[in-house]
Symmetry: C2
Subunit: 501 residues, 2 copies
C-alpha cells in the first residue's frame, strides 16, 4: 500500500505534528512504499469497491445508492420483521434473502441498533397488492422475488430485476434526492406503491402520524413521524415522476383501534382522495402502459414539505437518471482517491470498500438552505458550515474520525465539530451528542465520545470553531451529573455497580 496524498504531506510539511508523530509517519510511509513494490497496477479505486460486502452475516451494510455523506441512502429492503426479530435487518437488506419489498430512502451502514427505511417505494406491473405478503407465497403481496445475478451494485448506483413484475429497477442519488428508474414490461399497467408504514425496526404504532398529498402540479408530498430509535422523528419528502399519472389511490390502513376518529376528509374512495393523514398510509400511483422507463425522484427533508420540494428543485431539476448517476460516480471517484492503495486485488477490494463505508457518515442532515432539526426538535439554520449527523460516536472516536482528520479536508472535520457544538447548545440537556442521527438524540450506549473527537481535531490544528466554546461544551458533557451516573462518579470516584446494569 502506498499513501501519497498531498493533504497528509501538507500536514507533515507544516510541522503540525510532534517529532514522534513525524518519525512514526516516516516509518509508515517507508513501509507502505516497500509493500507497493510487490504489487502490480490494478482496477481503479471506484471499481474496487464492492457494496455487497457486509450485506451478509452481521455486517449490516446496504448495497444501495448514495453519494459520499449523503442524506439519502437509497437501498432495497428485503425483510421487515417484528421489532424483536429485526436485528439482522438493521440495514434493510440481507444477501441471503430472496425477495425485495421495495426501495427506501434512508439506511444506516454498519449499525447494530437501527431505524430508518423511510418512504418505501415498490414498482408494480399489473395488479397491486397493498400488503407485503409472504416470502413463501409468491403473489401473496407486493414483495417480489429477485436473483443476485441481476444485481449490479457500485458506489452511487444499484440495479436489480424484480422477477414477479419483470421490472428492471435502477437507483442513484444526490445528497438529498433519491432517483429511481424503473423499466416496466410491455402490456401491463405500471404502478408505484408507496408504503408509509414500512420501517426498519418496525412495530405496531411506530408511526405516530403521517400524511400524504398529491398536489395539483403532480408533485407528491408527505411526512411521517416515527417513534423509533430517535423518538418522534419527523421526515418529509417530495416526489415527482417523469411520466404523467393516469390515476392514484390513497389508503389509510391504521393498525390501531382508536376511540375518536374526527370528521372525514373530502373524497369517498381512495381514487378521489387528494390528501390523507393517519397512521397507516399507502399511496398507489398509476401510469398505465409505459413505452419508456419511469424516472422517479424523491427528495427528503427533516424540516418541511416545502424544504423537500426546494431540495428536489435544487439537486435534480430534470429527469436525467444517467447524469445523476455520472455525478454520483464522479463524487465517489474523487472521495476514494484520497488513498492510493497498491496491494493484491482482494485486499484492495476490502480496503476500498471499507473506505467507501467510512465515507457514508456522519451524513448531511440539513436542507439546501441550511435548515435542520436539532436535538431540541426545533428548526435551526447552519450558518457557515454543513450540519451533519449520524454520530455513532462510541464507534468512531478511536479510529474513524481520527482517520478522517487525515484523509478529508479540514473543512469536513470542522463541519463535524461545529455540528457537535451547535447540538450541545440545542440539547435540552446542554450536553454533546451521544448517538445522534438526523439531528436527534437516541441516548444509545455510554460515555461522551464527542469529547475526544473535538480534542483530536483541535490538537491536529483543525480550526473554524470557537475553542473556548468547545472546551465549555466538553466540560459540560463530562460533568453533567444526571448522565451515565456522572454525579456519583464525581462524588465517589466510582459508579456503584448496583445502580446500573
Amino acid at each position: 500500500m502506498q499513501v501519497t496524498k498531498l493533504r497528509i504531506a501538507r500536514l507533515w510539511i507544516e510541522d503540525r505534528f510532534s517529532k514522534r508523530d513525524i518519525f512514526a509517519l516516516f516509518i509508515f510511509v517507508l513501509l507502505i512504499g516497500f509493500s507497493s513494490l510487490l504489487c502490480a497496477q490494478s482496477a481503479s479505486a471506484f471499481q474496487s469497491v464492492d457494496p455487497m460486502i457486509g450485506t451478509g452475516p452481521e455486517g449490516h451494510t446496504f448495497p444501495g445508492a448514495t453519494v459520499p455523506f449523503g442524506m439519502v441512502q437509497l437501498s432495497p429492503d428485503t425483510q421487515i420483521r417484528p421489532f424483536k426479530q429485526s436485528y439482522k435487518w438493521a440495514a434493510g437488506y440481507r444477501y441471503e434473502d430472496t425477495t425485495i419489498l421495495g426501495f427506501s430512502h434512508t439506511h444506516f451502514s454498519g449499525a447494530g441498533h437501527s431505524d430508518l427505511g423511510d418512504f418505501l417505494i415498490q414498482p408494480i406491473s399489473g395488479d397491486v397488492k397493498l400488503e407485503p405478503g409472504e416470502i413463501d407465497a409468491p403473489g401473496s403481496g407486493y414483495r417480489s422475488r429477485f436473483h443476485h445475478e441481476t444485481e449490479k451494485a457500485e458506489p452511487g448506483y444499484y440495479a436489480v430485476t424484480l422477477d414477479d413484475y419483470a421490472v428492471r429497477a435502477e437507483l442513484t442519488a444526490t445528497t438529498r434526492t433519491g432517483v429511481h428508474r424503473y423499466t416496466f414490461p410491455a402490456g401491463k399497467p405500471a404502478h408505484l406503491l408507496l408504503d408509509m408504514r414500512s420501517s426498519i425496526y418496525n412495530y405496531t404504532g411506530k408511526v405516530l402520524w403521517s400524511s400524504l398529498r398529491l398536489r395539483a402540479d403532480g408533485t407528491v408530498t408527505g411526512m411521517r413521524e416515527t417513534r423509533g430509535w430517535a423518538p418522534a422523528r419527523q421526515l418529509y419528502f417530495a416526489m415527482r415522476f417523469s411520466q404523467p399519472l393516469t390515476g392514484h389511490e390513497l389508503y389509510d390502513r391504521e393498525p390501531l383501534p382508536q376511540e375518536y376518529k374526527g370528521f372525514a376528509t373530502p373524497g369517498t374512495s381512495p381514487a378521489d382522495t387528494q390528501a390523507i393523514a393517519g397512521r397507516g398510509l399507502i399511496g398507489v400511483f398509476d401510469f398505465g402502459e409505459l413505452k419508456q422507463p419511469l424516472v422517479v425522484k424523491v427528495a427528503i427533508s427533516p424540516v418541511s414539505e416545502d424544504n423537500a420540494i426546494a431540495n428536489l428543485n435544487a439537486e435534480v431539476p430534470g429527469f436525467d437518471f444517467d447524469a445523476v448517476r455520472a455525478d454520483a460516480r464522479r463524487a465517489w471517484e474523487k472521495e476514494l482517491s484520497v488513498l492510493d492503495i497498491k496491494t493484491d486485488p482482494a485486499m484492495r477490494k476490502s480496503l476500498y470498500t471499507a473506505l467507501y463505508h467510512a465515507l457514508m457518515a456522519p451524513s448531511v442532515a440539513m436542507d439546501t438552505d441550511g435548515s435542520y432539526r436539532g436535538p431540541d426538535y426545533q428548526v435551526h439554520k447552519a450558518e457557515g458550515f454543513n450540519f451533519v449527523s449520524t454520530f455513532s460516536l462510541w464507534d468512531t472516536y478511536r479510529a474513524e474520525q481520527p482517520l478522517m482528520t487525515l484523509l478529508e479536508p479540514p473543512d469536513r472535520t470542522r463541519d463535524v465539530v461545529r455540528s457537535l457544538l451547535v447540538s450541545q447548545k440545542e440539547s435540552p440537556f446542554d450536553i454533546l451528542p451521544i448517538w445522534q442521527f438526523q439531528g436527534l438524540e437516541t441516548w444509545c450506549m455510554i460515555g461522551y465520545h464527542a469529547v475526544p473527537e473535538i480534542a483530536d481535531a483541535f490538537m491536529k490544528n483543525i480550526r473554524g470553531f470557537d475553542a473556548n466554546e468547545a472546551l465549555d461544551a466538553m466540560v459540560a458533557s463530562a460533568t453533567y451529573a444526571p448522565y451515565g451516573h456522572l454525579g456519583e462518579y464525581m462524588k465517589l470516584g466510582y459508579v456503584p455497580v448496583d445502580n446500573d446494569g
Copy 2:
C-alpha cells in the same frame, strides 16, 4: 338601545348602501333613539358583561380571561370526562360543577364539538397528587373544591379560591400569553402542576407526542401534538415564574403499552430529569414557602418553542399582573364601545355579554413575527395582515361575520378574508376553510360558508385582498367534486340521499 358609532355613520355617509338600506337604517335609528328615552344611565359596557352567562346548560362558554380575539383563552376546567361523555364540557367549565382541575390556556366559546384545553396548570399547596382524583373524594387527586362566591369574572380577568389548597387564583391575558397570579397560604410549600395529558374531548391516546423541558435560565418549554378535532395539532408553550424554583419533577405516565421504548434519557429520578418526551407527561414545579404571590406567564405558539419564547418576551416582559389586567380591560372597553346600548340592565347585560362572546373568534392564530401553521401543517408567514382562525363558518356566515363588517374596522374583515384566502392556497384540497382552528381544518359540518363571508365583505366595499384571487378561491370551493358530494350535485343537480347520512 341607541347605536351612534362613527363607523356605521361613515358607512352610511359614504353611501355604500342602497336606498332601501338607508331607509331601513333610518327607521332603526329612530326606533332605538325612541327606546333610549325610556332608559336611565346605567353601568358601563365593560361592567355589563357577565362572563358567567352561558356556562350553564348548553351555552358552552367559559368564564376565564382573554383579550378580544386572543390566541390564549385561559380558563378553569371543571371536568375532563371520557370522550363520549364530554359534550357538556365543550368549554371546559360548567357552572354546576364543584371542583376545578386547573387552568388551561385554550378554549372554544360556544362550540358544540370541541377540543383544546391545552397546558393545564394547577397551583397546589402541600402534598402533590399526580392524578385528578374523584369529585366525591376530596384529597384523592389534584382537583380542588371551589365556591361561586369566591369567583370574580370580568372581561380579561377571572379569580377563584381553590378551597382544598387555600390558594387564591387570578388569571389575565394578552393576545398570546396567559398570566396567572397565585396567592398561596403561609406555612405550606407551593407547587405548580402542569398536566400535559389533560384535554377537552379527551381519550386515551389523544396525545400523539409531547415534550417538556426545564431550561438553564428557568424557562419551561414544551409542546404537545394531539389527535383531536384537528388531527395531529401541534401547540408549543413557554412558561416563566416570578419566583425561583426550589425543585422540579418530570414524570411520564404513558397510558398505552408500547412494544419499543428506545433508550433512557439522562436522569434516574423525576427530580434530576431536565427534559422528557412521551405521551403522558406531567411536570411539577416547586417553590417552597412563598411570602408573596407567584406570577406565572405562559405564552403559546402553533409553530415552535422558540416562537413561544419570543411571544412571551414581546407581550409580557415582566411579572406585573395588574398591568396586564389593566391592558386587557382597556382592550375590552375599547372593543365593547362599538355599541352604545341603552336599555334595561338585564337586557344590557345580555347584549354586552353576547357582544363580548362575539369578539372572541375568529381568534389570532399567528406568532408575533407573523408565522403560523396553515391547513397543510407547514409553517407560513402572514405578510401585511393578521392570520386568524377558529372559523365556525357555518355558524357565523349569516349574522356574526356580517355584523362584524359593521362593528369592526375594515382591517378586521380584511384579516378574516385574507386568512381564508391563504388557507385556500395552503389547503391540500385547494379549497376554502370549512371549520378551521389554529390554522388546521376539522372538516366539521357541511357547506362552504367561507364563500358568502367573502362575498359579503366584497359587496360592502371592504378591500385589501385580491378580488380575482378571491373569486377563484370561491369557485374552487364551490366546484370541488370530492367535497360534500359536489361532484354528484354538479352532475345530477341533486345529491342522492342514499350516499350520505
